[in-house]
């Protein structure tokens, strides 16, 4: 979705190519879904708050309608024997499709012993001790902020 947004925005001269990497980086670090965050940003740059509302609704409506149609279809045909058999094959496969991006992310962002420790501890807490991921995110944000703050030497000032 990101390359599509990029191409369309520079074609229409809405946002310059120089600005785009920053916008992508910001949208990635803000909470929520990156593609939507970019729409909010672009909409605001063009027409303020109204623009960002329009851009957001525009970016989510097509997939919203498609997934809604599928949801209505599947909840109605959930017990159809063919659907049941197909999903018996799909379910294990889906779990691997969650694992693949995880392994790719781990290879990219776990490069020190503390990073691995952080990954393993949060995995165990959430998977086996039923801790909410929200608490993990809050704790790690506080921890990361404190360490970075300390390292930058702002502590002394």
């Amino acid at each position: 979705m990101i390359p599509l947004i990029q191409a369309e925005m520079s074609r229409r001269r809405w946002i310059s190519d120089d600005d785009l990497p920053d916008i992508v980086a910001l949208s990635q670090s803000a909470p929520g879904v990156m593609a939507v965050n970019i729409s909010i940003f672009a909409g605001y740059k063009l027409r303020g708050v109204k623009g960002s509302i329009a851009a957001t609704l525009g970016s989510i409506t097509p997939s919203f309608l498609i997934i809604l149609a599928i949801a209505m279809f599947f909840t109605a045909f959930k017990d159809n024997p063919w659907v049941v058999r197909a999903f018996k094959g799909i379910r294990p496969v889906v779990i691997s499709l969650i694992a693949v991006p995880m392994v790719n992310m781990a290879r990219k962002s776990c490069k020190s012993w503390w990073a691995w420790l952080l990954a393993v501890v949060s995995l165990v807490l959430v998977a086996f001790l039923n801790v909410s991921p929200i608490y993990i995110i809050i704790c790690v944000l506080v921890l990361g902020f404190s360490v970075t703050y300390y390292k930058e030497g702002r502590w002394k000032r």
């Binding site: 379910r91 694992a99 990954a119 165990v124 959430v126 995110i137 970075t148």
Partner: protein
Amino acid sequence: METLELIAQLAWTFFIIGAFTIGGGYAMLSLIQNQVVVEHPWISESTFTDIVAVSQMTPGPIGINSATYVGYDVLYAATGSQWLGVCGSLTATLALMLPSFVIMLLIVRFYVKFRSSTLYAGTLAWLKPAVVGLIGAAAIILIFKTTWVSGVPTISVVTENFPDWKSWMLLAGAFIAGYWGKVNPIYIILAGAALGLVLY
């Protein structure tokens, strides 16, 4: 009245999910799973797996897609009404968007300041490994269920997702195809469906 309460709960739940998802769509999946499978008794592990499958095959971000689907399913299961299901999916999707919306607008206002903040970049570097753990946990919860009885954990396989040895073969095959083969997830899911029809 009960329906209204459920819609309000759904809105609050997805608002919180939207506010605390940092680190992409799969991180969001972990939060959605925790809220709707573990915290609230709304959706079973196997239905959640189906929802993830459908969200992966549908265009658009996986996090929003699953929120839309979950919203429909929760209201439809509780009331049996398709229209309330649509209300549920609208509620979940919009509530999910709202925090990003407010935060992004604030960010645009303080764009220049934020851009130069090495403090924020440093903080995020810590979050990435934790997100890896969260996504791993999301996968594990769909395979194993842990129940604690007076301090002793019992780990059992989620049999709706893994009824027999063939399921484990499918899991391994899909991982090999996705990781080393770099096959598009949509084809892997379609292959899973075809194999499901042949094997079961």
